[in-house]
């Protein structure tokens, strides 16, 4: 299991250059004709909020993929959620421009084919998985770096929760950590490219505060990438339940082999202290408010 994690400093000025470096480092050695990029479009929030994938960063990612994989077919994928319709999100948040400029397809997974996946899961024994993602030669998991009211952080593992078919995914919230682990068992992420240029802290994943972290993080194993991001955000990776669970069932390891622009000394300077939602305290108050 490759636990290498690449950390790069990035801004909108050098995002293309840094993305190229990252994609080159993470390049796979099998033929790639179809690529699926799972973005994070959780709500009707602009990229400046830190809540949703930034079309400028996704554009850099797509151009890098074209460059390093000989122009494969690229699909940007997301699923409807309780509060959103994918088509509207793609339009409002600027992804239609990428469709026109780069010829990528924008796919609402809910409207594509799904297939059964049997697993001895923590929550599911059988799960529907999106065929276009499963059949892609390269699955790029492209999360944002955010805090989350229920799971403390949301990075690569949590981003794949968007590959659950149901529109009303809130029904899984009581078992969220287990469901996240199950989905990641069923749907692989070949590369994880975390957009932490504008991250989010506080009341994430939707209405937190934008945090200018200026980071691009990449890796091949979502557990290692999440663990590194948790560290950068100022959390103990093992205190994030779904990360610890994923490690326990063998999806990866929370220890990581750090590469890129940071070494063990300089990374301390990059470490942030993300404010996070004290969900369990506020939930008691919300019980009376909601």
């Amino acid at each position: 299991m490759d636990n290498s994690v690449f950390g790069l400093k990035a801004s909108f000025g050098n995002v293309q250059q840094q993305m190229d470096k990252l994609i080159l480092q993470l390049k796979v050695d099998w033929p790639v004709h179809k690529v699926a990029i799972k973005v994070n479009l959780c709500d009707y929030r602009m990229a400046e909020s830190g809540a949703t994938s930034d079309p400028r960063v996704v554009k850099a990612l797509v151009l890098s993929i074209f460059r390093h994989y000989n122009n494969p077919e690229v699909a940007i994928v997301e699923t409807d959620s309780s509060g959103t319709r994918c088509e509207a999100l793609f339009s409002i948040l600027g992804f239609r421009a990428l469709e026109q400029q780069l010829g990528v397809s924008l796919v609402n997974l809910r409207k594509t084919q799904w297939q059964d996946f049997a697993l001895p899961g923590l929550h599911f024994s059988k799960l529907k998985v999106p065929t276009p993602v499963i059949e892609s030669d390269l699955v790029i998991n492209h999360p944002k770096m955010k805090t989350h009211g229920k799971t403390k952080i949301t990075i690569g593992l949590k981003n794949m929760f968007g590959c659950v078919r149901d529109k009303y995914k809130a029904r899984y919230h009581p078992y969220l950590d287990n469901v996240i682990v199950d989905v990641n068992r069923a749907v692989r992420s070949d590369n994880i490219i975390v957009d932490g240029i504008i991250a989010m802290e506080g009341w994430g994943p939707t209405y937190g505060t934008p945090k200018k972290a200026g980071l691009l993080i990449g890796g091949r194993n979502p557990v290692s990438v999440d663990a590194f991001c948790a560290f950068l955000m100022g959390f103990d990776p093992k205190s994030v339940k779904h990360v610890a669970l994923a490690e326990r069932i063998g999806l990866g390891t929370t220890s990581y082999n750090l590469q890129g622009e940071f070494d063990s000394k300089s990374i301390r300077e990059q470490r942030f202290k993300f404010d996070f939602a004290r969900y369990h305290l506020t939930k008691r108050v919300e019980g009376q408010i909601a």
Binding site: F12, G13, S82, G83, L93, I289
Partner: protein, 356 residues
């Protein structure tokens, strides 16, 4: 005992209407009606052995009820309320009473013709702080209201029922989402004269008018300013507030947690801070004593019990339909002007901003 029929058993009915008369000895929901079986069953579990109906016609034919409480989507109110009045029943109807002044007036005329009452649940009017505001206005402590600024910054409604985000049905931001603030403005300023200026944003991607800002002339130098939006790509915090500017003193209202401040002269830091502390203390007290949630239903309860009392004593109900004519006139005026500008899709380029 007044026998009530509940038409529409969704969230509003279950969380506000049924609990409001649960302890009443004057009335009981004896019949529930909804074409959604799940909602019907859920509401049924909150009431004592009601008869269940899946159509209004069946409910009316049953002759089981003396009055109906209508909690269906706004675009159905006019039709259902008309049929209930014609069947000789008194009517309590959730906001908006209808989707135009003309329909509201027709309901008013029909209620007079049939000799029945129609009461509208414009619940903000019976909010504790709005009642306090009306009292101090009546006492002359604020002088004359000259300007009202209402802000409604809501969340995108696409996670709600499908009829709600179809503005041809719900009436959208004006008739459904911000109708309480529009009602408050009309209550304080009266009948609107004209729109001085308006900006609206229509999002073709979600087929919704997501933003309206307008200045309204109410005559005699009185103006209203509304800032209504449900577009969370262009604003970030969701809240509701109203500022009432008067010749004697100004009043500022915030909601959830509630706050009212009366002020004049240079903003006094001590007063400002102490009012916020009062707000905090009140919120903490309500949470600690588990009154916060119960207090949310108070305005509904006051209107529902007031309506029942008006039936018993044959008096005017708390929010008679004629008292919302100005509200509907203001909503119609805004709506008619929005139609003029909403064909212009003023899209925002998400790729444009460069933060580095």
């Amino acid at each position: 005992m007044i026998r009530l029929g509940l038409v529409g058993c969704g969230q509003i009915a279950r969380e506000f209407h049924i609990p409001s008369i649960r302890d009443s000895s004057e009335a009981r929901f004896v019949a529930l009606c909804d074409n959604n079986r799940v909602s019907l069953q859920r509401a049924s579990s909150l009431t004592s052995r009601p008869r269940l109906f899946d159509s209004v016609d069946e409910l009316l034919e049953s002759k089981l009820v003396d009055a109906v409480d209508i909690c269906t989507p706004g675009f159905t109110h006019f039709d259902i309320a008309s049929r209930c009045l014609e069947s000789g029943l008194d009517v309590l109807v959730e906001k908006p009473v209808a989707l135009s002044l003309r329909e509201a007036q027709e309901l008013g005329a029909l209620s007079t013709k049939c000799g029945r009452k129609i009461c509208v649940v414009q619940s903000l009017r019976y909010h504790r702080n709005v009642q306090l505001l009306l009292r101090i206005l009546e006492n002359g402590q604020l002088g004359r209201v000259m300007k009202v600024v209402c802000t409604y910054h809501g969340r995108n409604v696409h996670n709600e029922a499908s009829w709600l985000h179809d503005e041809t049905k719900s009436g959208g931001i004006i008739y459904e989402l911000a109708i309480h603030l529009i009602d408050l403005m009309a209550l304080l300023l009266g009948k609107p004269n004209s729109i001085v200026g308006i900006h609206a944003r229509y999002r073709p991607e979600i087929e919704s008018t997501t933003e309206i800002e307008s200045i309204i002339d109410f005559g005699d130098g009185k103006i209203g300013i509304v800032d209504l939006t449900q577009d969370t790509t262009l604003h970030s915090a969701s809240y509701t507030q109203a500022s009432i500017y008067c010749t004697g003193a100004d009043a500022f209202l915030k909601f959830a947690p509630d706050y009212i401040r009366v002020s004049s002269g240079q903003v006094n830091p001590l007063q400002e801070t102490s009012e916020e502390l009062k707000r905090l203390a009140s919120f903490g007290f309500k949470i600690a004593t588990r009154r916060y949630r119960r207090d949310r239903t108070e305005p509904h309860k006051r209107i529902l019990l007031g309506f029942l009392n008006s039936l018993r004593t044959d008096t005017t109900p708390p929010v008679d339909v004629s008292s919302v004519y100005n509200t509907m006139a203001l909503a119609d005026l805004l709506s008619s002007q929005v139609k003029h500008v909403s064909n212009i899709s003023q899209s925002v380029d998400p790729l444009a901003p460069q933060i580095d």
